[in-house]
């Protein structure tokens, strides 16, 4: 556990070295929150009933989706692909830590710093100027927090699976574009799943990516409540267990291939 935090701290320092970039990112997040705020407002005046929730909830959903953009920053699969390509992966494998946990520690570091210096300040500004709501009660807040952690872990494992594939097969750079656009789309980062036409919704409802954005944010705004929220969190847990298992298996297989090839 101590080693875990040491690696997390390392990632923290790495990112905080580029302060100018973070300032720019901050401006951009605010701009995008402002953008989505207006999109939903304009659409709401067009057809007030079509959201299925009220305007404040919808705006909160959009703003949260923008704040959680930082989930997508952490890209262990790119790191893995680069390390494999340059051969530097052997130094990672020599570290006194399980590689899967090492990647997780890096991602946790990246996302924690993102939340602390980017998402929270931006949400504060949004709260002051864009009619963003707090969760209705403490219990909802707690469920949101749990669901958010699960959402992060789900996305991390999907990324890790893709990264493991890069060891054996292919250049994943281009696949990544398609992959991330799918995560954004089917995960409901901008447009929530309940606005999808039925066939797309049926597809998105069974895939694990909806646990990344749609479930945590829907709980936050009070669209998923009570037993529905519990079921959604169970959905996340089941998929997470499956993905952890799959990650261990795929990585184990890729790892053996690596050793055979001589690093």
């Amino acid at each position: 556990m101590k080693i875990f935090w040491a690696f997390a701290r390392q990632a923290f320092q790495f990112i905080s070295a580029y302060r100018f970039n973070f300032f720019m990112e901050f401006i951009l997040v605010l701009l995008r929150m402002y953008g989505i705020y207006w999109v939903w407002r304009v659409l709401y005046t067009q057809r007030p009933g079509a959201f299925g929730v009220d305007l404040d909830q919808m705006v909160t959903y959009g703003v949260m989706g923008m704040a959680l953009e930082l989930f997508i920053w952490s890209r262990p699969q790119w790191y893995m692909a680069n390390q494999v390509k340059s051969g530097a992966i052997d130094t990672d494998l020599m570290k006194p830590m399980d590689f899967h946990l090492y990647m997780l520690a890096r991602s946790v570091g990246e996302v924690l710093i993102g939340i602390a210096i980017l998402a929270l300040p931006a949400l504060l500004v949004a709260y002051l100027f864009l009619d963003v709501q707090f969760p209705p009660d403490l219990w909802t807040g707690l469920m949101f927090a749990a669901s958010l952690v699960l959402g992060f872990l789900l996305l991390f494992h999907l990324n890790f699976l893709l990264g493991s594939l890069s060891v054996v097969a292919l250049d994943i750079r281009h696949i990544s574009w398609a992959y991330f656009s799918m995560v954004r789309f089917l995960g409901g980062q901008i447009v929530p799943l309940w606005l999808f036409p039925s066939f797309l919704r049926a597809l998105a409802e069974v895939l694990p990516v909806k646990g990344t954005y749609y479930i945590p944010i829907s709980i936050y705004i009070g669209r998923l409540t009570g037993s529905e929220a519990i079921r959604a969190i169970e959905f996340q847990l089941v998929w997470l267990a499956a993905l952890v298992l799959l990650s261990r298996m795929l990585w184990g297989w890729a790892y053996r291939r690596l050793v055979v090839q001589g690093g």
């Binding site: 580029y18 100018f20 970039n21 720019m24 990112e25 951009l28 701009l31 995008r32 402002y34 953008g35 705020y37 207006w38 999109v39 304009v42 659409l43 067009q46 057809r47 079509a50 292919l170 250049d171 281009h174 696949i175 990544s176 574009w177 398609a178 656009s181 799918m182 954004r184 789309f185 901008i190 447009v191 606005l195 999808f196 036409p197 797309l200």
Partner: protein, 252 residues
């Protein structure tokens, strides 16, 4: 042989990646349009037109100038010197050292989308409008190229510029995905005056789709894309020269 095969796989995944990306983006727009019937007065095919006009300008950029964002690598590693010691303009050498085939996928997608939109909207352009259309695409390419170049030049001072680049691209995406009139005043001012990416698609589209009467007080903005592009070319040339003056090799 294996290397060739690997390149072909790379090519195919690249094309598939670009197409999936665009289909996903258009599906999102499609969902919103079907739910709300139009986006602030923009119907489905008008949105496709807006999106694809941007893509066409972007495709030329991504074919010829995509690697501008890699400038920082040359500066950090000290390999930029290779462009300075040859008997040609370092600008031409840097820009000419690579093309990116993925622009072809963008162009194909853009042309198909625009043709479908043109037919579905029942447009009949006269010569003047075709001219404006062509000018808008070229201006779009130049606008994206010059903005990209100026941001890359930041690296002469800060050493890093890629993140700033991705920020430009994401503002660009918002303009590509939604008509600018959907956003608030602040955003409109930014993408018109400060980072004028709205001239890549939005303002020309207003004229080309007949959404603005030629007599309207703002119609002139629709014809301004080439002017904006020209101004940016001059500005970025100045930035580039100042940056080169400032350049000192990283000691490689």
């Amino acid at each position: 042989m294996q290397a060739r095969l690997q390149y072909r796989a790379d090519f195919l995944t690249g094309i598939v990646g670009v197409i999936v990306l665009n289909v996903v983006n258009l599906s999102l727009i499609g969902i919103l349009v079907s739910r709300f019937r139009h986006l602030n007065g923009w119907t489905l095919w008008e949105m496709v037109f807006l999106y694809c006009l941007w893509i066409l300008g972007h495709s030329l950029f991504s074919f010829f100038f995509w690697h501008i964002r890699t400038l920082e690598d040359f500066l950090v590693q000290g390999t930029f010197d290779q462009f300075l010691i040859r008997p040609a303009s370092p600008f031409v050498l840097f820009l000419g050292h690579e093309v990116q085939y993925l622009g072809i996928a963008d162009a194909t997608f853009g042309i198909s989308g625009l043709s479908l939109a043109y037919a579905s909207l029942g447009l009949h352009w006269n010569g003047m409008q075709w001219l404006l259309f062509g000018a808008a695409i070229l201006a779009g390419t130049l606008i994206e190229t010059t903005l990209s170049l100026m941001i890359a030049c930041l690296a002469f001072w800060t050493g890093r510029s890629r993140r700033a680049h991705s920020i430009l691209m994401r503002i660009n995406m918002m303009v590509q995905h939604y008509p600018v009139d959907m956003f608030g005043y602040v955003f409109r001012v930014i993408v018109t005056g400060l980072i004028p990416v709205a001239f890549m698609n939005y303002y020309p589209a207003l004229i080309l789709l007949g959404k603005l009467e030629p007599q309207s007080p703002w119609a002139w903005l629709g014809y301004m894309s080439p002017v904006v592009a020209a101004a940016l070319v001059i500005l970025s040339a100045i930035v580039w020269h100042v940056a080169l003056q400032h350049y000192s090799s990283s000691g490689g």
